[in-house]
């Protein structure tokens, strides 16, 4: 990767807005790498957490927002509680994900998590409480993992751990109003589950992958 920097990139609104909106000083980071050292998910990430922070310091907005890392962060807070510079790295990851949603930048290889979050929230907005069958069904359908966990389902039914019917909350309008107002105040895009083009790309990727796998075996 080559990155041309000048005062414009260093003083870009990216870092400034981040520091203002989530109150975390990215510029504090002195790159000790303790966040990366303790991250349980780092083995799957394209950039280590410390690299994400470094790229943010250098104003690499596009690269940061389209990284897989920000979606793979599990919000376990291990980095946050151990950071010697007292930077809430998990909060920064949250912020970056919200930015990525706003800007519609989501890597094709990493659609599951953003998709899941959106479906989850849609689910809550509709029913007030989590309707697990609805969530799993919808997720499997849209993510292309049509038969995921189908073997587990009967067991769960028998043990009454999953219900076919959605839960009922009396005053559901109240909950929906909260979603509506939060979206408005937070200036978040709530309308679409995800960009349809992205969903399509992901689906085709999954299907092609499955066919390729079958051909190989």
């Amino acid at each position: 990767m080559k990155w041309f920097i000048s005062h414009n990139t260093i003083r870009s609104s990216f870092q400034l807005t981040l520091e203002k909106e989530c109150g975390e000083k990215v510029s504090h980071c002195y790159q000790c790498g303790k966040c990366s050292a303790g991250c349980p998910i780092a083995f799957q990430m394209d950039y280590l957490p410390n690299q994400i922070i470094r790229m943010t310091q250098l104003g690499m907005e596009q690269q940061v927002l389209s990284s897989r890392t920000i979606w793979l962060c599990a919000s376990c807070l291990t980095c946050t509680v151990r950071c010697p510079r007292e930077i809430d790295i998990a909060e920064i990851m949250d912020y970056l994900r919200r930015q990525a949603y706003k800007k519609g930048i989501i890597p094709v290889e990493e659609t599951e998590i953003p998709l899941f979050n959106k479906i989850f929230l849609r689910n809550i907005e509709l029913f007030g409480r989590l309707y697990e069958m609805g969530l799993i069904g919808m997720f499997n359908m849209l993510s292309g993992e049509f038969f995921k966990d189908v073997f587990l389902a009967p067991k769960m039914f028998l043990k009454q751990k999953i219900s076919i019917f959605p839960p009922r909350v009396k005053n559901i309008k109240e909950t929906r109003a909260i979603f509506k107002r939060s979206g408005k105040l937070g200036k978040a895009h709530r309308d679409k589950l995800l960009n349809p083009r992205l969903l399509f790309l992901n689906l085709s990727r999954k299907i092609i992958g499955k066919i390729a796998k079958r051909d190989n075996s």
């Binding site: 349980p40 998910i41 083995f43 799957q44 793979l72 599990a74 919000s75 376990c76 807070l77 291990t78 946050t80 509680v81 809430d88 949250d94 994900r97 919200r98 949603y101 599951e112 998590i113 998709l115 899941f116 979050n117 959106k118 989850f120 929230l121 809550i124 007030g128 409480r129 989590l130 697990e132 969530l135 799993i136 997720f139 993510s143 995921k148 966990d149 587990l152 067991k155 769960m156 043990k159 009454q160 751990k161 999953i162 219900s163 839960p167 909350v169 009396k170 005053n171 109240e174 909950t175 909260i178 979603f179 107002r181 939060s182 979206g183 105040l185 937070g186 978040a188 709530r190």
Partner: protein, 293 residues
């Protein structure tokens, strides 16, 4: 002892046994739990990832409902709900800007006045271990357990204010009172993969597999948890871990409330011990800790 009870979505579905056992234990010990009427989801991880204000407004709405019950203390069992409720309270107490926005969203003033407690905290710090010792009729002697706390029970410490950050010990203390044997192990607060159960199952298999391996290596016969997500990852995914890593741990994953219930002499079925994927009953029979009926 009277509390507003916030079970959260999981305890009404995948973690039904946590809900059952909590209520049984509370009843047996005279702790009154009154479920918040019409509670809604706390928003969990997806909310704070997607919309920050929503992740505060949903818990606040629930806390306001508890306030209407004239109950100023809310008890929850789910570590994720606990974390979200606590964080929302923290923002409402300390951050004027967010408080104003959230008050506008929920349409009511709220300054974080409803106290949030985890049931573990109530059991140990309010009911008290000493009182509990006197109530134990069925000792769990010889049962070696690994107490697993996960991420959100202790982190971040300034908000959760529950237990030691790196070496939590509340559940271990509790297990000792039941005469079970908590093993010393280093993975008490390692991440299990959390909410990636559905989306990144491979990550969950790796992380949960590591946790099971460590518990196994340190001689644990069962893992005790206080979080429905941890339980489901470790229990539900054991079959897949076996398939992928060729390791058959067959370690039951129990809620601390179930073991407390057992030691109080409550029937296994009432504690939902039949609802696990990895069946704990053979182990409990072998260890002679099941109540004879």
């Amino acid at each position: 002892m009277k509390y507003a009870y916030f079970p959260g979505c999981s305890l009404h579905s995948t973690a039904k046994e946590y809900d059952l056992s909590t209520k049984e234990v509370a009843r047996a010990l005279g702790i009154e739990l009154i479920e918040i009427p019409d509670w809604i989801c706390c928003g969990a991880t997806p909310a704070h990832i997607t919309m920050h204000l929503l992740s505060l407004a949903l818990p606040v709405k629930n806390l306001l409902k508890a306030k209407e019950m004239d109950s100023f203390e809310v008890v929850t069992c789910c570590a994720a709900c606990f974390s979200r409720l606590k964080i929302a309270n923290h923002f409402m107490q300390n951050d004027n800007k967010h408080r104003k926005n959230v008050e506008e969203i929920v349409g009511e003033p709220y300054k974080g006045e409803v106290k949030v407690r985890h049931f573990l905290d109530v059991l140990i710090n309010v009911f008290g271990l000493k009182n509990l010792t006197e109530r134990v009729t069925n000792k769990l002697s010889g049962l070696k357990v690994a107490c697993y706390y996960g991420c959100l029970l202790t982190r971040p410490p300034e908000i959760t204010q529950l237990d030691d950050l790196e070496e939590p010990h509340l559940m271990d203390d509790l297990m000792k009172v039941l005469d079970a044997e908590p093993v010393k192990w280093p993975y008490k607060t390692e991440c299990c993969g959390a909410s990636f159960s559905l989306t990144k199952t491979d990550i969950v298999l790796k992380l949960s597999g590591d946790i099971l391996q460590m518990a196994h290596d340190e001689g644990a016969q069962a893992i005790v948890v206080a979080c429905p997500l941890c339980q489901s990852n470790l229990d539900l995914r054991q079959a897949a871990i076996k398939k992928k890593y060729k390791k058959d741990f067959n370690i039951p994953i129990l809620y601390f409330t179930q073991l407390v219930g057992l030691s109080l002499g409550i029937e296994p079925k009432k504690l939902g011990l039949d609802k696990h994927i990895v069946n704990p009953l053979p182990l409990l029979k072998e260890r002679k800790v099941l109540v004879d009926k």
